[in-house]
Subunit: 474 residues, 2 copies
């Protein structure tokens, strides 16, 4: 079905490993020692895959078969609408945003229609701040806008609130034809959105049953948005499939990238690294760090293990961007506590090169820039940061993509999803649920006055009766 | 000089403190017990202020006197240029960006000129990714663009590289008049940019001597950009001055907001919280989290204390955004390890209200939204998240701004700067240097072939001779 080895993804984990310069690094035999656990994880994940818990991998071929319908619809709406707005939150927002920002122009929405190949501008409304909501409405002509409501259950309060407002606006402005401005991505059989979509005649795409929000990018959740923006969705899936095959076929920690990365994370975590920094040296991958942060935090931050014991574990993901954050965070990473590992993401090659002009009149300490390129400077800074971290005894690794294209992004998504799944197994927790989100939802229902939550409301009002508040007295 | 108490900033630290619901919270007497240390810190900071290390506070009145020149220049260029681009990195970028995003339209650059009150579009180029650089050039007409080069020393490699490219482009495109497209913000007396600016006739603004990048927002670094975007810079300074006075006049931990916040941070840090989450529930403050992350990380992440002992301390700042990240990070914050505190930032009131329409046909579990407003939902979710954290035994606090306006943003900036300064004193480290950044700079010089760094280059090349690399074998 797909082209193999079209672009190479490399993991350089030298900075994690013991050496003369890195005496606190991991030993090869520590990695080897995890193999029995990894073998067990592999077997457990194979079972999960067969029973519908690992659909981000299992359903890739099926997604491929859905592409013709997705692309046909995307082409049709691309010629009709000037704007495409995702209404979604969490995985429904972070995935589409990360992929669009990685693969399209950095200032995409400011390009002329021609320079966008007559594709719509792209917005993701992932919050309910009333000011931002209204400000978005100010820059969009609703008559020329398509809204994609994404929620599997249709009871995501934020998304449904947005939907109700948008639908109301569209009805007033577009009359009967309002339904053509709404496309719904939701469950096949149940939830609140499905009957509304059927009744009102919204175009509809399906989120496969076994997929949670943070693993849903390579389903219609992400593929529709990508296709509408003109991203090569075949290549995205091809890269994902290539990585998926690699991970399912390679059998040990030194050849299987997901096993390797999970093992490195697990050993570091055991040694007290409770922070995992994700630091691309590529502006287009800045939003990918947000996507990764949800994946890692929500999958692995768990109170109970599979045996029901209270373990309260999880690494905190931190997003950074090189070289920018060398001037913001790297002081802490090198000199602060030894409580984190850093994962760099770099490219073999940027799409463009940018030369720095020579000026012989410049002072010595900036003269050296002339005649070099921006990317040479960027690569030198990345390597120098690695070296500074190593000198400081801090561990780091690097994911190297051949280029920033759809194939490589597909590879990266699957690698990180599989790494997370393996890490869940090593930690013996369920990486696919999010029980901690429920308490907050119930509290919201109570405070919004939903029937049946009166008792909870009383509890919340009781909390904080003893207030500690500082206000100005001047 | 300024209006006092125009808008109230409140700190609600109930969620940090011991109570029936929060048995692991701090005791009032623990805060009281820090008073001697805080008194010592206050005295030390007063000395630093007199000796030019606390110019972010000391120079506020002087900045006020510079406003007429800044505003006059801003008005002049606003009518002439369609675009304003900051070339800077670290504090030179994060401050201007945070304030602009807090106080201007969320989709500012997409507004018509009229809706921008004929102010220029605003860009901050804070990285050297060659693709982003060229893509920015694609959406700007250089003939209608003003570039603000910000670097105190003029040897910031990234900014100087950008400057060299932009100057070259402008010379080719605008001929003799190229110098009118460049305004330089740099040191008064020294550095590499100053002689270039003098020789080529660039308009020039001064970064006061005693101010480091991360404390420079309320100097011409940030004030010029703000004025050009039409932000009320008087109110920004007035809010800052009000907070500055409050902090310098209130004498104890329960009345001084900087002492209080530093004490809360210090006690939490002592109890093993090595992570500090900054989580505004306001879309406009998303970038403020980046600014805060630099301030906290670079100021407090230090290898040695003032006595020269190796301490390797510092809390890792994490940026989050409510309600969005409830669907991404809060699972970890409630169920994961008890290794963090969360600081919420909320508003008393949003500028706009947005009602959610009623639809009696909706299923019960979303019916409750109808007739309420987006901001009610947002406030309920924030409060529910507080409650969920408290139930889970996790500590949190809340900064409440009266509204998102220039006065409140000025207050917030000074509060966080003073908190950081106090925290530095409590930790007995120098919060105003960044020695760890040097090693990376030297490495970059070496790898870029700068004369005098040959030995360093050899060292770097020696590192990682034993490579650990995983590449696909299929």
């Amino acid at each position: 079905m797909m082209s193999l080895n079209k672009s190479k993804l490399t993991i350089d984990y030298t900075g994690m490993m013991h050496s003369d310069q890195n005496p606190k690094g991991l030993l090869k035999k520590e990695l080897q020692g995890l193999q029995p656990l990894l073998d067990k994880a592999e077997a457990a994940l194979a079972v999960l895959r067969e029973t519908g818990k690992l659909d981000f991998s299992k359903l890739l071929p099926e997604m491929q078969t859905q592409l013709p319908e997705i692309k046909a619809y995307a082409d049709q709406v691309a010629s009709r609408f000037e704007n495409f707005v995702v209404l979604g939150i969490g995985g429904s927002a972070l995935g589409p945003l990360a992929v669009q920002q990685a693969l399209k122009h950095y200032y995409y929405n400011e390009l002329t229609a021609e320079n966008r190949s007559y594709r719509p501008r792209f917005y993701v409304l992932d919050n309910i701040d009333p000011v931002r909501f209204q400000e978005l409405c100010q820059v969009l002509d609703p008559g020329k806008t398509l809204f994609n409501v994404i929620s599997k259950s249709g009871n995501t309060a934020e998304t449904m609130a947005q939907f109700l407002i948008v639908r109301d606006n569209l009805r007033r402005l577009c009359g009967e034809s309002y339904a053509e401005h709404i496309v719904v991505t939701t469950d096949q059989e149940k939830g609140n959105l499905l009957p509304i979509a059927l009744k009102e005649g919204f175009k509809r795409f399906v989120i496969p049953r076994g997929i949670g929000g943070r693993f849903s990018e390579l389903t219609p959740v992400g593929l529709l948005a990508a296709a509408i923006c003109g991203i090569d969705v075949e290549e995205l899936l091809a890269g994902a499939w290539e990585m998926d095959q690699w991970i399912r076929e390679a059998r040990d920690v030194f050849t299987n990238p997901a096993q390797l990365k999970a093992a490195l994370a697990y050993l570091s975590w055991q040694k007290g690294k409770n922070i995992s920094v994700f630091m691309p040296y590529v502006d287009g991958l800045k939003t990918m760090a947000d996507w990764y942060a949800q994946l890692w935090a929500e999958s692995l931050g768990k109170r109970r293990n599979r045996g029901g014991e209270v373990v309260s574990l999880g690494q905190t993901p931190v997003k950074a961007l090189g070289v920018t954050d060398q001037h913001s965070q790297v002081q802490l990473y090198t000199e602060g506590p030894d409580d984190k590992t850093v994962t760099f993401v770099t490219l073999d090659k940027f799409k463009f090169s940018q030369e720095i002009p020579i000026d012989r009149d410049l002072p010595e300490d900036i003269q050296f820039l002339g005649g070099r390129t921006l990317e040479e400077l960027l690569f030198a800074e990345q390597k120098a940061t690695e070296y500074a971290l190593t000198l400081a005894g801090r561990q780091h690794q690097k994911i190297i993509l051949s280029a920033l294209n759809a194939h490589a992004v597909g590879q990266l998504l699957l690698l990180l999803e599989w790494e997370t799944a393996y890490m869940g197994e090593l930690l013996n927790i369920n990486a696919f649920d999010q029980p901690g989100v429920e308490e907050g939802k119930n509290g919201t229902y109570a405070l919004m006055g939903r029937a049946g939550y009166e008792r909870k409301k009383q509890d919340i009002e009781k909390y904080g009766q003893e207030k500690y508040v500082l206000t100005p007295t001047m």
